[in-house]
C-alpha cells in the first residue's frame, strides 16, 4: 500500500535521475566544444564494445560492489561509513601478507584465506571508529575520514620501509608467487569455448563479489541480525525498547562494513596487480558511497550501480585517452549522478508519486477505506552521533 510499487522505487527513480544527469553531462560536453554523440559512442564502445572493455568495466564493477555493499550495510544501521577507502587499503595489506608469507598450494585456498585476511584487516580498521562512535559518541563520519588518511600514511610507511624488496626503488611489495595467481575471466571462460580478452583484469573475484551481494541480501533481509541492524537504523529508541544493544549493532555493522570494504583487495591487489602498490584503491572506497546511494542500499541495486560506475570509469578512461575531454569530466558526470540520485531524490520522486497516485486512482476507481499514504516523517530528532539518514 505504499504509494509506488517497489520496482519504481528501486529501478525507475535511479533511471530517471540517471537520464537527467546524462542530459546535464551532454550540456557540459557541448560547453567544452566536444561532440556529445561521439563521446557517448566512444564511451560505450570503449567500455562495452569489446571483451577487453567489458573486462575492465567488470573489474572496476567488482571493486565497487565490495565498497558499495560496505557502505550499504553501515547505512542500514544509519551509520555513514566514509572510511571504505582506508579499510580497502588495509584489506590490501592483509592480502599481501597472506599471499607473500604463506606458501599456498593452490589459488582456491589462497583466495579463501586472503579474503579472510582482507576482511579481518578491513574490519579491524573499521573497528576503531566504530568503538569510538559506540562508546564515546565520536562522529563516525569524521573519524572514518581521518582513518582514511591514517591508512594512507601507514601503508606508505609499511611499503617504503618494511615490505619493499631490497634494491627496489618502487614503493611496492614483491610480486606474489605464481601459486596465488587468480584466474582471469579469460582463463575461466576458455574451457567453455568463450573467447575473452587476455589483457583485461576482470577475474574470479567478480564471482566472489556477486556472492557477497547475495549474502548481504540474506543478512539484511533474512536474518535476525539484519533485522536488528535495520531496526536500529530506523529508530534508536525503538531498538532500546526491543532490547537491541546500540553498541553491539554499531560494532557489528561497522565490522561487516569494514570487512566488505577490505575484501575489495582480493580483486585489485590479488587479482590485478598481484602485489601491493601505493594507492592501490584508486578512490574505489569513495565511489562505493555513490554506488550505495544509487543502489538504495539494496544489494541488487548496488550490483547494478556498480556495473554502471564500472562503465563510467572505463568509458571515461577511453574518453580521456582518445579525445580532448579530460578525465575530470568523468568525475563531473559521476558527481552529477550522485547529485541527482542522492541529493535531489525528491525532485524525481514526488512527481513520480503523484503520477502513480493518479494511475492508481483511475485503475481502482472506488476509494478503499485506507489511511492517507502520508510521507511525513515522525517528529524525528536531528541525526546525531554520526547516525545519518540513509
Amino acid at each position: 500500500m505504499d504509494v509506488m510499487p517497489k520496482w519504481a522505487d528501486v529501478v525507475l527513480i535511479p533511471l530517471i535521475s540517471l537520464i537527467l544527469a546524462a542530459i546535464l553531462s551532454t550540456l557540459v560536453i557541448i560547453g567544452i566544444g566536444e561532440d556529445p554523440v561521439a563521446a557517448v559512442r566512444m564511451m560505450v564502445s570503449g567500455a562495452l564494445g569489446s571483451t577487453y572493455g567489458w573486462g575492465y568495466t567488470l573489474y572496476y564493477a567488482t571493486n565497487f560492489m565490495f565498497t558499495g555493499l560496505a557502505v550499504s550495510v553501515a547505512f542500514h544501521a544509519r551509520l555513514f561509513n566514509i572510511g571504505g577507502e582506508g579499510q580497502a587499503m588495509l584489506g590490501g595489506l592483509g592480502v599481501a601478507l597472506a599471499c607473500l608469507y604463506i606458501p599456498w598450494p593452490h589459488w582456491t585456498l589462497a583466495l579463501v584465506f586472503a579474503a579472510l585476511a582482507a576482511a579481518l584487516f578491513g574490519a579491524a580498521w573499521a573497528a576503531i571508529p566504530a568503538w569510538l562512535q559506540a562508546r564515546r559518541g565520536s562522529h563516525i563520519v569524521i573519524t572514518t575520514i581521518m582513518f582514511n588518511f591514517i591508512a594512507a600514511a601507514f601503508l606508505n610507511y609499511v611499503l617504503v620501509n618494511l615490505m619493499r624488496p631490497q634494491g627496489s626503488m618502487d614503493p611496492a611489495t614483491a610480486r606474489f608467487p605464481e601459486a596465488v595467481h587468480l584466474p582471469t575471466l579469460h582463463e575461466l571462460l576458455a574451457p567453455f569455448g568463450i573467447a575473452f580478452s587476455k589483457a583485461a583484469p576482470a577475474n574470479v573475484s567478480l564471482l566472489v563479489a556477486v556472492a557477497a551481494c547475495v549474502l548481504v541480501w540474506l543478512l539484511i533481509w533474512r536474518t535476525r541480525l539484519g533485522y536488528e541492524i535495520r531496526a536500529y537504523g530506523h529508530s534508536e529508541t525503538g531498538a532500546l525498547y526491543a532490547g537491541i544493544s546500540p553498541v553491539r549493532i554499531t560494532m557489528i555493522a561497522m565490522l561487516i562494513s569494514g570487512g566488505l570494504a577490505g575484501c575489495m583487495a582480493i580483486n585489485n591487489v590479488m587479482g590485478e596487480a598481484e602485489r601491493l602498490v601505493l594507492n592501490a584503491t584508486e578512490g574505489a572506497g569513495f565511489i562505493g558511497i555513490a554506488v550505495a546511494l544509487m543502489g538504495r542500499s539494496h544489494p541488487f541495486g548496488v550490483f547494478l550501480a556498480a556495473i554502471l560506475f564500472g562503465f563510467l570509469y572505463q568509458g571515461g578512461a577511453e574518453l580521456a585517452l582518445w579525445t580532448t575531454i579530460p578525465r575530470e569530466l568523468i568525475v563531473v558526470i559521476q558527481a552529477l549522478v550522485i547529485l541527482f540520485t542522492g541529493a535531489l531524490d525528491n525532485m524525481v520522486r514526488m512527481p513520480l508519486e503523484r503520477l502513480f497516485l493518479a494511475l492508481g486512482r483511475n485503475r481502482r476507481g472506488t476509494a478503499p477505506a485506507a489511511p492517507l499514504p502520508a510521507r511525513t516523517h515522525p517528529p524525528s530528532v536531528m541525526p546525531k552521533d554520526g547516525r545519518e539518514e540513509p
Binding site: E228, H234, G238, Y241, G243, G360, T366
Partner: protein, 520 residues
Amino acid sequence: MTAGGDTGRRDGAVPAIELRGISKAFGPVQANRDISIRVMPGTIHGIIGENGAGKSTLMSILYGFYRADKGEIFISGRKTDIPDSQAAIAAGIGMVFQHFKLVENFTVLENIVLGAEDGRLLKPSLAKARATLLDLAAEYGLNVDPDALIQDIGVGKQQRVEILKALYRQADILILDEPTGVLTPAEADQLFRILHRLREEGKTIILITHKLREIMDTTDTVSVMRRGEMTATVRTSETSPEQLAELMVGRKVLLRVEKAPAAPGKPVLEIENLRVIDEKGVERVKGIDLTVRAGEILGIAGVAGNGQSELLEVLGGMRAGTGTVRLNGAPLALSGAGSDGQARRARHIAHVPEDRQREGLIMEFHAWENVAFGYHRDPAYRRGLLMDNHALRRDTEAKIAKFDVRPADCWLSAKNFSGGNQQKIVVAREIERNPDLLLVGQPTRGVDIGAIEFIHKQIVALRDQGKAILLVSVELEEIFSLADRIAVMFDGHVMGERLPGETDETELGLLMAGVSGEAA
C-alpha cells in the same frame, strides 16, 4: 444532518466561515466528501471525529495548505479563494498547530514578529511589535514575557505564543488543532479560559479535537466527522457525549469499560526504594515502593514528567536504576548485564511503551516485521540461520484478525496504519505473549474512540486471566476506567494510593499537584 440548520449566539448574522460542498481526495482516498459547514462569529465551534476522519484535511484546506477539488469558501459572507497560507492570514484566519512552529532559540517577541516584519530593519518593527503585543496580552489575558526564549518556557506558554502570533496577524478566526494534546490538565483549563475570553471579544474559534469532554465543556456548536463526511452539526447544549461518540464511530460505544471486581492474588511485581537518575544527572524517580498483584491493574496517575515514564522504562529494560525490584519473588537486574529489553521479555514482562511511533514500532517496517519486534529472537520465528518469515506472517495474520486491525494487510508499513490500528498491533503483540506482567504506558494516546474501547477490553481480559498490569496514563478518565488501585506520582515520589471507588478527580488532582494526601 442539516449543516445549514445551526445557529450561533447571534442569530441571523452572517457566518464568519461558511464552507459549501468541499471535497478533497488523495489518490484513492476521499479525505473530505461534500462538506458544508457554517460557523457563526463569536462562537466556539468544535469539530470532532476519529483519527483519519478528515478533520485536519478540512482545516488544511481552510488554511490554504491544500486546495479543495470542489467546493467554495465564504469568509464573512464573501466568497474567498485561499490558495496558500498567506491568503488565509489575509482573510483573518489564524492556525495553532498541534506541533508548535516556533524557533526554539528565539525570544517570544522575535517568534511573533517572524514572517510579519515590516520594513527591512528589525529594530523598529520589534519595538512596534512589543507595544502591540503588550496590548494584545492585556486585552486577552495572555501573559507571556516577550523577552523569554521559547526553549525556556513551558508548552502551555508556547501555545499562548502561537495564539498571540495569530492575533498579531489580526486573525478574527482561530483554528486550534488538538490543542490539549501536550498540555497538563491545569494548562488545558487555562487555555479554555483564554478561549472563552477570546470569544467574548468577538473572535471565532474552531476547536479540533477527539476528546469528547473538551467539546462538551467549551464549545457552543459541534460538527461530527466520520470517514470524510460531516455526519451532523448540533448545538452542544442539546447533545450528550454518548450521542457524539455514536455519531463519530457509527455505532454505540461504551465510554467506560465494564469489568468485574478484581481478585488480586500473590504479589507479582514488588518495587522497593527504586531510584532513577536520567542522562542529565537529574533524579527522576526518588525512591518509590509499589506492589502489583496477580489479577489486578495498578494505575499510576500523574501529570506527564513526574517520573512515570522513567518508572516504566526501568521496568521495561530501557534505562538503568537502583533499588530492589522482584518479579515473582526473584530479583530483577536494574543495570548492566541482564537488564535490557531482551532479558525482561525472557522474564515474561511485556511492555506497551508510551510512544508507539518512536519505541513500540519501527514505522518503516511491515506489519509482520513489527509483530516480531522485541521477540525477533524467539525460536518460533527461526528456521536454521534465518528468520522464518512465513511463520511470522502467519502469526501476524492471526493477530490482525483477532485484534481487528484495519486494513488487514500484513504487508502494510506501520506508518500507513492509523494511530489506533498501530496501537492495536503493539497491544496484540504484547498481550498475545501471555506475560506475567504487562507494562502499559498511555495505551490510548492519539487513539480513536472505537479502538480505545477495544484496547481497554483487552487489558481487562488479561487481568481476568490473573496477570499483573502496571498502567501509566495521564488521562484520569482512563485511570478511573481501568485501574483497580491508583497510585499518584508527583516529582518522582508516590504521593499516595487510593481505591477508585473511594476517591474522586478532585482528590487525585490535588495529589497530582503535590498536595499530600492527608491534607486533601
